[in-house]
């Protein structure tokens, strides 16, 4: 019975509304006091029923909830036979609850949409060799699954056959489809845009990247920041306090009207709900854009950020060295490039990969008598020629004569931060290549936008030599840049900044930066959905896309601002009502309830604005 009444709350609110309308219409048009009074009496009894039940349930577990305050207020109104106020207050309270539910659902929609992307079924290869549809929970590691065009990838896995394009927006926030073929990794919750693939399940259920993201986002909506914890404690003692104050007011003045008005005014709605609402909308916006913010504390810190420390490799630069500059000397270069590629093909030196990529398709030759000279390069015999590939000191050892022109080129290449790869054929210098790690495209613009958002210091730390670091720093216009740093050094350096009172964020790829991520106020990981990154950091840029950083920062600022606005609305409303009660006569129970519900809706609607937040370009320029 009790549950039946509660489940019909919305219907009851509607009936109350109709009864109240009937009451007033009959009063004005028929001048009939009886219908007026009886309608209101029924309306308030009916409306009070679900509220009283909730109050009783709360009291049973020793909680003084808003329902308790409202029930007492309505009882008081009954005592003084003010059915008009009793009816209107119960109606407003029920109708307000309905509106709150509707609007709150809206603010939570971003995160709900994300969770709804979770796959539910999979096509699993059975023992009879045919694919059968099973619940996703029944998939085990090692199962072979079929994914058809338009279907969701059910688990994290590796493609074993077929090819296709996958939309990975649910993981990375990036909706441009990614090509997948045999051996490619695919993630649960992503959608196969076209093609058909068969995958072997690597991680299932709660171990998938998608499940971890959901878990993280759901947890992030709720864990409490300092401010929220305060409001929580506040609410716990606040409602009983309101009860006591109203009792005292009644004892001293014997004025029931005043006592019940205090009860209604005291309902702590907007104050309790304001901060969580901003929080959920802000985190929801981020999750849709591939920016995971781990909770409101992170948002607060991020909004006050003044220093960002970047790891160089893989963050500001692309992380895989490539040939940036090339110079040829003499003729028969095609042939020389073939020799060079043949030698480099047998090497596992990081620079060799860059050189091979630069040369591309060529004729390969058998390589003989390969000799690796540590720290210098390789000497080998190819097609009857002596080929030397390496740095300047190797050329000196090989007695290669360097012309004035070549010497000038070498100096210039080195100065722009290149590692040098020289190739000599039979003692003649033929090719000079400058290999370096290129700055990510757009990095400079991103850094400028960060400055416009109020970040004062942009610092780069790197294990590379100071020369390379300086060059990147100049190209990007950084505040400071330090080279030759081990991971411990980076952590130490960041600790120093934090001790100086700066609010520091560290941006890294999350793989070997854990100490630095941990010592900064905020660890920002550029993790393409890797577990380490998701677990160790405070903010994750899901598609490793550093250009999302300004959005993350702007969003954090907007969310923090939104929380403050909501607190201001809530406190402001209470202050205005209290002043009205003490110094005026316009505040009664009905006005109190109206304003109370209005302020709750105001903070929810204000929070909802964050869902549509986009970094405004015109503000930045």
């Amino acid at each position: 019975m009790l549950r039946f009444i509660l489940s019909k709350k919305n219907t009851i609110a509607l009936i109350c509304g109709i009864l109240i309308a009937t009451a007033f219409i009959s009063r004005w048009t028929l001048a009939n006091r009886d219908v007026f009074t009886w309608s209101l009496l029924v309306a308030s009894l009916l409306g009070a029923a679900p509220i009283a039940i909730q109050a009783y349930q709360a009291l049973r577990v020793k909680v003084v909830s808003i329902d308790v305050l409202v029930t007492l207020a309505v009882l008081g109104a009954f005592l003084i036979r003010n059915y008009e106020e009793a009816a209107i207050v119960t109606f407003l309270f029920l109708f307000g609850a309905y509106l709150e539910q509707r609007t709150l659902n809206q603010t939570r929609s971003a995160i709900r949409e994300l969770t709804e992307m979770a796959p539910e079924s999979a096509l699993k290869l059975g023992e009879n060799g045919a694919f059968q549809e099973v619940d996703v929970d029944e998939v085990a590691v090692g199962d072979i699954l079929l994914v058809k065009t338009g279907a969701k990838v059910p688990v994290d896995g590796t493609v074993v056959s077929g090819e296709g394009y996958v939309n990975e927006a649910s993981i990375t926030g990036e909706s441009v489809p990614v090509g997948k073929e045999k051996g490619s990794k695919v993630y649960a919750g992503t959608i196969l845009d076209n093609g058909t693939i068969q995958i072997v399940a690597d991680r299932v259920g709660e171990d998938t990247t998608f499940a971890k993201i959901i878990e993280l986002v759901e947890e992030a909506q709720d864990p409490k920041s300092e401010a929220e914890r305060f409001i929580d404690r506040f609410a716990r003692y606040y409602t009983p306090a309101v009860l006591v104050i109203s009792l005292i007011a009644w004892l001293f003045t014997r004025n029931v009207e005043l006592a019940i008005t205090i009860l209604v005014l005291g309902c702590p709605g907007a104050l309790v709900i304001g901060v969580p609402v901003s929080n959920v909308a802000g985190i929801g916006n981020g999750a849709r854009q591939g920016v995971l913010l781990k909770g409101s504390e992170v948002i607060t810190d991020l909004s006050r950020l003044d220093t960002i420390v970047f790891d160089k490799t893989g963050t500001l630069t692309e992380g895989n060295p490539s040939v940036a500059e090339t110079k040829y000397y003499g003729a028969d270069i095609e042939e020389v490039l073939g020799y060079l590629a043949s030698v480099e093909r047998e090497s596992d030196h990081p620079l060799a990969g860059a050189v091979l990529e630069e040369i591309g398709e060529t004729t390969f030759w058998p390589v003989e008598n390969t000799e690796v000279i540590k720290g210098s390069g390789i000497v080998a015999r190819v097609n009857g020629h002596r080929i030397a590939v390496g740095n300047v000191s190797l050329m000196e050892k090989e007695k290669v004569e360097l012309t004035a022109e070549a010497r000038a080129d070498i100096a210039r290449f080195a100065q722009s931060g290149n590692s040098l790869v020289l190739t000599a054929v039979d003692g003649q210098l033929k090719v000079l290549m400058g290999v370096r790690d290129r700055v990510r495209s757009g990095a400079k613009e991103v850094l400028q936008r960060l400055r416009k958002l109020g970040v004062k210091n942009l610092v780069m730390l790197s294990g590379d030599n100071q020369g390379t670091v300086e060059r990147v720093s100049q190209e990007l216009g950084l505040t400071e840049a330090h080279g030759n740093m081990l991971p411990e050094d980076k952590a130490e350096y960041i600790k120093g900044l934090v001790e100086k009172g700066r609010i520091v964020a560290f941006v890294g790829d999350g793989v070997n930066d854990s100490p630095a991520l941990a010592s900064a106020n905020i660890g920002i990981a550029m993790g393409g959905g890797t577990d380490v990154a998701i677990e160790t950091s405070d903010v994750v840029l899901m598609n490793s896309d550093f250009s999302r950083l300004p959005h993350a920062l702007g969003l954090a600022k907007a969310t923090a601002r939104n929380m403050k606005q909501n607190i201001a609305i809530a406190v402001g409303v209470v202050l205005v009502l209290l002043t009205g009660l003490l110094f005026g006569d316009w505040v009664n129970m009905t006005v109190g309830m109206l304003v109370h519900e209005g302020s709750i809706l105001a903070v929810i609607l204000n929070g909802m604005r964050l869902l549509g937040y986009k970094l405004n370009n015109k503000n930045e320029r």
């Binding site: 909680v63 709150l104 909506q221 709720d222 709900i273």
Partner: protein, 75 residues
């Protein structure tokens, strides 16, 4: 010791959290420190001792407060 995640219907009122917390924290077998009521995702997470209390009993306690349980997962 098992851990449960209980999905409820949408929580809206600010005192819902207190009520559900109050209803669960003193149940024998529920580990008080692990009890978390998540407002925005409308979920309860807790660890419980399966020798002392069943999931059905925990769900019933939430139900008695007037909140419908939609789905529960136990590990």
């Amino acid at each position: 010791m098992k851990s449960a995640t209980i999905q409820m219907e949408t929580l809206t009122c600010p005192s819902c959290l207190q009520k559900i917390e109050g209803a669960l924290k003193d149940l024998d077998g529920v580990e008080k420190d692990t009890l978390k009521v998540l407002f925005n995702s409308s979920k309860v997470k807790l660890n419980f001792d399966e020798d002392k209390i069943t999931l059905a009993e925990i769900e019933a306690a939430i139900n008695r407060q007037g909140y419908k349980v939609l789905q529960s997962k136990v590990k």
